[in-house]
Every structure is written in structure tokens, then in C-alpha cells.
């Protein structure tokens, strides 16, 4: 066992970890942030995507001890207390969510994409979420939602239209 500390969704957290744990296990089992999903466990599906130091990573491909001192954002860090993040709102409005399993990862990939490229083309959006597999939606509505979210964010992110 080993004690590590890191910042998760803006808060200083510490946890006891097993040496064999992955960041995914740390988040879900030790910190009970179960919004991060495990799909394949092999770096292929992106369901476990989190943002580490401003970049998306598959949390099943990072060992927990490697996250010591790092800044992590999970899906739980997107909404404020009473308000969804504009990307989440756009996903709901555009009907981009079916079973929902891929959505936390999709939303976080979309966030980094829009942080780096506020007005992406549809192709750039597809490339940005190319590491996130969805077995339900056929992706079109997800791309629609990210386009809509880009609009919300570029107009200050608060529009309730």
C-alpha cells in the first residue's frame, strides 16, 4: 500500500492505493467517482477517459501511482452545483445520449477539443472523439451536440436558449 495525493476536480485528495491499481481503479474504487467507466480495459474504447494535466488520457492506461501530484478532471467536475456544463446541456438537447456508457468520456474529449479549437469543423470533431467508441448513437448526434456546445461556449457559455 502507498499513500498518494493528487488534485481531482479542483480538490486536493489523498488515497491509499495498491501498487497494482490503475488511475481508473483509484477514481472509481478509492474516491468513488464512478462517472468514469471501464469498457475494454485495454486502451481502445475511451469510456475511461479523464483529463490529466489538460490532456485526455485513458485512465485504464495510467497506473495510480503515476498520478501523484497530477491535476485530474473527471465527468463529476464538469457541472457546477446547480448547472450542467454547456457541453453536457448540448448533449441532452441534441439527443446525443442513449445508454450513456460512452458519454462521460465523450464529454471530456469534447472539452479538451473545444479548449484547443473553439470552432472545429465536423471532421475535426470526429477526429477529436476518435478515441471514444459509442455502440449506440452512430456518432452523428454526438457531433451535432459538440457543434452546438461550441456555439454556447463561444457566446459565453451561459445562453439558456
Amino acid at each position: 500500500m502507498k499513500e498518494i495525493s493528487l488534485r481531482v476536480n479542483g480538490e486536493e485528495r489523498s488515497a491509499e492505493i495498491h501498487e497494482e491499481m490503475r488511475l481508473l481503479d483509484l477514481l472509481r474504487d478509492a474516491l468513488h467517482l464512478t462517472g468514469t467507466k471501464e469498457g475494454c480495459g485495454e486502451g481502445e474504447c475511451g469510456a475511461c477517459t479523464v483529463i490529466m494535466e489538460g490532456k485526455t488520457v485513458n485512465s485504464c492506461m495510467v497506473m495510480a501511482f503515476q498520478a501523484e501530484g497530477k491535476e485530474i478532471i473527471t465527468i463529476e467536475g464538469m457541472a457546477t452545483k446547480d448547472k450542467l456544463h454547456p457541453i453536457q446541456r448540448a448533449f441532452l438537447e441534441k439527443g446525443a445520449v442513449q445508454c450513456g456508457f460512452c458519454i462521460p468520456g465523450m464529454v471530456l474529449s469534447a472539452k479538451v477539443l473545444l479548449d484547443e479549437n473553439p470552432i472545429p469543423t465536423r471532421d475535426e470533431i470526429r477526429e477529436g472523439i476518435s478515441g471514444n467508441l459509442c455502440r449506440c448513437t452512430g456518432y452523428n448526434k454526438i457531433v451535432d451536440a459538440i457543434e452546438t456546445a461550441a456555439g454556447y461556449l463561444n457566446t459565453g457559455g451561459d445562453s439558456n436558449a
Binding site: E20, E42, N58, V62, M63, E68, S130
Partner: protein, 304 residues
């Protein structure tokens, strides 16, 4: 089995000392995209897992100047300065894809980095890890072979430089002693009439485990191929130089005829190499297209 202990290396010297003191018991982890699967499948059972992803000395892409001594036709020794480009072993594929060093003539390197995995994988996976795992489908290796890159390896005592080609021994194995660490990769920067192209045949763009990849370095003069270096990925046990095909292009005028003849030869070479294995026929045919695309891209990067 002893329980796993884990360390985060903070400085290169400290990591080299750990490697020295626990020879053979340490497994290095950086991006984790290969190692974590092997750990979970128990294909690797190290006593110590040593994370090098936080070591600054292994980061960054930079230029430096190297003095080369060579003897001219008149028998006199001359010292020439060669500008080299160095990529730290801990540089990620995302960093390579975005680096201003790899635009224009060297864009083939960015193309190869961008062809790997998904954004999440590229953000984590490092060039050093890709090389040390020496998978037949390691996409970055063919471009580095075409650039005649060298591997810079360190132990506590000394630094050694060797050709990348010599460094990669076989599928999954590299020439690294238990007390050594691959620290960087370096190659000569390109002149205006030199460029690098890369093309790959994958299943789909994100996550494509490379099927066939070709990297082409070309030096052009008087509308002819003055110097050509080709390397392939997933066309044999390890990525390799394709000398026969290179020779067929060298000195030839740049036109459809010379390129087509080389493509035909590439097909024959590959079919011969893969004889009796499944997919030999298909790969032989496919390599022609991939090769021509790599060459076209290389020529395109210098507006030819």
C-alpha cells in the same frame, strides 16, 4: 513472487542508479500504453515498476550541432558541422505531431506520430516506449530508420550512441543492458532538397494497429532521385530498411515510370519475404500503393 514496489523517478541520475542497483528486476514505465496490459496479463512480473514520465531530461525536442570529421579526396581531414535534431525518449506522439520542427520537409515524422492510436493514446505514448517495445507495427520506427537516426543510451557510468537499426534486435527486443536507459533519438536535420514522407494502410484511422507502413526519405537533384532511403513497418518481423528498392530508384529521373518500376520491385521483394505466410499476396499488392503514397508525399513536401 515479491510484492510489486513502485517508484516515480524525479531525476535521470536517480533512475540510472536504481537501474544499476536492481539490475534485471526493474520494469520501466512511461506512457503505460503497452506495459500496463503486459502487467495485467502477467506477461511481465517485475519487482520494481519505475515511472520515468516525470523526468525533464527525457523531454523536449531540440537542435544541436555535431562535429563530423571526414577525410576528403585530397587526403586532408576536415571538420564539418552538422545540425542534429534530438527527440527525448519521453516525448509523446501528440508532442511530435504538434512540433514546429516537424512541418515542411520533416512532416513525415508528424504524419507517422498522428497515425498512431487515438488522441488519448498519443497523449500518453512516448517515442522511447514505442522503440523499446519494438513491435513489428511500431509506426514511428520506419520514419526513424529512413532518417538513419541514432539511439542515445545511458547507464550510470557512460553515454553511448548507436544506430537505431543496430539498437532494434528483434521483435520486442532491443540492445539495452539492464542498467541502461534509452534517453533520446537524434538524426541530421534535412537540407532543402531532402524530405521525408510516410504512408500507412490501417484498419481505421484511430487505433489502427499498423498493417503496412512505408517511410521514404528522398534527396532530389536535377529532377532525379539523388539519394533514397526507404523503410517499412509490418512487412516482416521488425521494421526494416528496404535497400533493394532504394537501389532501384537511386539516380533515376523522377517520373511515373521509375516510381512504378520501384513499386513493382517492392511487391516482389515483399512477396518473397512473406512467402508461405497468410496475406503475402495481399500485402505485396498493397505495399505498392502505400509506397507510392509515401514517395508522393515526400516529393510534395518539397514542392516537386
Amino acid at each position: 513472487m515479491a510484492p510489486l514496489s513502485v517508484y516515480r523517478g524525479a531525476e535521470l541520475q536517480q533512475v540510472l542508479k536504481l537501474l544499476q542497483d536492481h539490475q534485471g528486476k526493474v520494469c520501466i514505465i512511461a506512457g503505460g500504453t503497452d506495459i500496463i496490459l503486459k502487467l495485467r496479463e502477467k506477461k511481465l512480473e517485475p519487482e520494481v515498476l519505475l515511472d520515468i514520465s516525470g523526468i525533464n531530461e527525457l523531454k523536449g525536442i531540440s537542435e544541436y550541432s555535431k562535429q563530423l570529421a571526414d577525410t576528403g579526396l585530397d587526403g586532408l581531414k576536415r571538420i564539418t558541422e552538422q545540425t542534429m535534431i534530438k527527440i527525448g525518449a519521453g516525448v509523446t506522439f501528440s508532442e511530435i505531431a504538434k512540433s514546429p520542427f516537424f512541418s515542411q520537409n520533416l512532416k513525415g515524422l508528424a504524419d507517422a506520430a498522428l497515425s498512431v492510436g487515438s488522441p488519448q493514446i498519443r497523449n500518453a505514448a512516448t517515442i522511447g516506449g514505442n522503440i523499446c517495445n519494438a513491435s513489428p507495427a511500431a509506426d514511428i520506427i520506419p520514419v526513424l530508420l529512413a532518417l538513419e537516426a541514432e539511439a542515445i543510451v545511458r547507464s550510470r557510468e557512460k553515454e553511448e550512441t548507436m544506430s537505431l537499426q543496430g539498437f532494434i534486435l528483434d521483435k520486442g527486443s532491443v540492445k539495452l543492458l539492464p542498467n541502461q536507459l534509452l534517453c533520446s533519438i537524434a538524426f541530421s536535420s534535412l537540407k532543402e532538397n531532402q524530405s521525408l514522407g510516410f504512408a500507412k494502410l490501417g484498419l481505421r484511422k484511430a487505433l489502427a494497429i499498423s498493417r503496412i507502413a512505408v517511410a521514404a526519405f528522398v534527396e532530389v537533384g536535377d529532377n532525379a532521385f539523388k539519394n533514397v532511403r526507404l523503410a517499412s513497418g509490418a512487412c516482416g518481423k521488425i521494421p526494416k530498411r528496404e535497400y533493394e528498392v532504394e537501389a532501384c530508384l537511386e539516380g533515376k529521373a523522377i517520373n511515373d515510370g521509375s516510381i512504378e518500376a520501384a513499386a513493382e520491385l517492392f511487391k516482389q521483394v515483399l512477396k518473397e519475404r512473406l512467402r508461405g505466410r497468410s496475406g503475402a499476396e495481399y500485402k505485396g499488392e498493397a505495399v505498392k500503393g502505400v509506397f507510392k503514397e509515401a514517395l508522393r508525399k515526400a516529393l510534395g513536401y518539397q514542392n516537386i
